[in-house]
């Protein structure tokens, strides 16, 4: 991996996230409707956290606050003990849609984030090329987004995020639009990426199995105003979806949602 080059000699772990009294409301029919209320949470550097909850409970809102794309009404987000303001180079976001620029080739799309961060065109392309190899799209460097399938396009989006070597990867239902088969492969791929890159991963998902498969902890948000809860996932990795503990875990989590 290319990470060694950028990690400073001092062995400080980075990518630690803390939420302090984070609150956000949105106006709805003339009234302010609270979406997130006083959320406090510590996320360890290198941890994988899954955020689940019913539709409209504020998962995307929370992720946007973490990304710095939106500002909280109250409270703050600390990264490595420093409050964030706006977007930062230590974070990268992966969305449900790949959000590729249709006029750029796969290679240039992956190089895009690097170029925005001031890396020269040639260097950005060289690094992008390595990243594309890693997501298995080496043969498609010169393809345009419209020539890709959904799963391939999403992998290009992931490669673009990884190319900037973030400490924290923020994912908003990244596999939500994929078919079941592709989704399984991509979950394996995310697990591998997380393991190899040692990033902090914060993943919004509506798929409980996906949450258990990938996460160290699951944060459950609710719509009824009750406080969010976190559930640790103490299962050995790599995880086996058919192991009795895994199945039991899934049952527990489904119980949380009133699904039995």
């Amino acid at each position: 991996m290319t990470r060694e080059a950028t990690i400073p000699a001092a062995p400080t772990v980075r990518g630690e996230v803390a939420l302090r009294g984070l609150s956000k409301s949105f106006p709805l029919q003339g009234r302010l409707r609270p979406v997130l209320r006083d959320i406090d949470l510590e996320i360890r550097a290198g941890e994988a956290l899954a955020i689940v909850g019913p539709s409209g409970c504020g998962k995307t809102t929370l992720l946007r606050l973490l990304a710095g794309l939106d500002t909280p009404d109250r409270g703050e987000v600390l990264i490595d003990a420093r409050p964030i303001s706006g977007v930062g180079t230590e974070r990268a976001v992966i969305y449900q849609e790949p959000r590729l620029l249709p006029w750029l080739t796969v290679l240039d799309n992956v190089a895009f984030g690097l170029e925005l961060r001031g890396v020269s065109h040639a260097e950005a392309r060289a690094r992008a090329r390595r990243q594309i190899e890693l997501v298995g799209l080496g043969a498609f460097e010169a393809a345009y987004p419209r020539q890709l399938s959904g799963g391939m396009a999403q992998r290009v989006g992931i490669a673009r995020a990884l190319a900037v070597q973030p400490e924290i990867l923020l994912l908003d239902e990244p596999l939500g639009a994929l078919d079941a088969m592709t989704k399984l492969t991509m979950q394996e791929e995310l697990a591998r990426i997380w393991r190899e890159q040692k990033v902090t991963m914060i993943l919004v998902t509506h798929d409980l199995e996906e949450a258990i498969f990938l996460a160290d902890r699951v944060l459950v948000l609710s719509t009824d105003g009750s406080a969010p809860t976190t559930i640790p996932v103490d299962l050995p990795r790599p995880r086996d979806r058919n192991a009795p503990e895994f199945v039991a875990m899934r049952r527990t989590l489904m119980g949380k949602f009133g699904l039995h």
Binding site: L69, W103, G136, R146, T182
Partner: protein, 274 residues
């Protein structure tokens, strides 16, 4: 991972893999058959006396008039005069319309302030304003160029504004999340995303430019293709009149062809490879 379609991209060129290439002759006929039919009908109508040959001369007379005009240089002067008028006006409209459109599309308040005025101007036919321009600028070149400029400005301007405003917010947000500033968002996302709709405006404007060119040249001109159409008709040089009309059509096709070619080069990504 498979290459099969896992989702359905918005536009997938269906024709690309299904249709075998048509044999050249058939392809040619299916594309130009009606044009050929029209010319044959013309020739027949003229020769068989369905329409007086004085009004609708046989095509070879039109071709001869065209050839004479070009060889003697008379029509060449007209073409040059027309191209100059339309060219200056079109260039000015592009030079003002695209930057202004990009600015207006980006800056909401500017757009909201200028929009009512723009709608008013746009809804007022440039031809109706031509007399006003003549009063203000005289009957010379300036008023001619200006009326063409006026009419061509709005399609470009409105298409550019529309293009900028329709840029996918999600792409802008993606760029911002990688730390893009306003200028970078503009240069790397907004501008390239607007190119296809700017081209729609350019093609519309090119058509409008030729339309207004002819109208302007029919009033108080002594050179130009539009003048030649009128003049030939006054002098009852009907083949010459048709020659000038064909020239006009050729000019329009050439302008459009040029823009299509440019569009293919600049935004291949947005076109279905039909």
């Amino acid at each position: 991972m498979t290459l099969e379609i896992l989702d359905s991209p918005r536009r997938r060129p269906a024709s690309r893999r299904v249709l075998p290439p048509a044999p050249p002759l058939r392809a040619f006929l299916s594309r130009y058959g009606l044009v050929i039919g029209f010319l044959l009908l013309w020739e027949a109508a003229s020769r068989l006396g369905w329409v007086s040959a004085a009004v609708l001369p046989p095509l070879e007379q039109v071709a001869a008039a065209l050839w004479d005009g070009l060889a003697s240089g008379a029509l060449v002067d007209d073409i040059a005069a027309s191209l100059q008028r339309a060219g200056i006006a079109f260039a000015a409209a592009v030079g003002l319309g695209i930057p202004l459109g990009l600015l207006m599309g980006q800056l909401g308040p500017v757009e909201r302030a200028l929009d009512p005025l723009l709608q008013l101007f746009r809804q007022t036919s440039a031809l109706a304003l031509y007399p006003v321009f003549i009063l203000l600028l005289g009957l010379g070149e300036t008023s001619k160029v200006f009326v063409i400029f006026w009419a061509t400005l709005f399609p470009i301007l409105l298409a550019t504004i529309g293009g900028v405003k329709e840029v996918d917010r999600k792409l802008i947000e993606m760029a911002q999340s990688y730390g893009a500033g306003q200028l970078q968002v503009f240069r790397r996302v907004v501008l390239p995303a607007s190119v296809p709709s700017i081209f729609v405006g350019l093609r519309l404007s090119a058509t409008t430019a030729l339309l207004l060119l002819i109208a302007a040249e029919m009033i108080g001109a002594n050179k130009g293709i539009g003048f030649q159409v009128m003049n030939a008709q006054y002098n009852f040089q009907i083949p010459l009149m048709f020659a000038a009309i064909f020239l006009l059509a050729g000019l329009g096709l050439a302008a459009n062809g040029l823009l299509v070619w440019l569009q293919r080069r600049l935004c291949r990504w947005s076109l279905d490879q039909a």
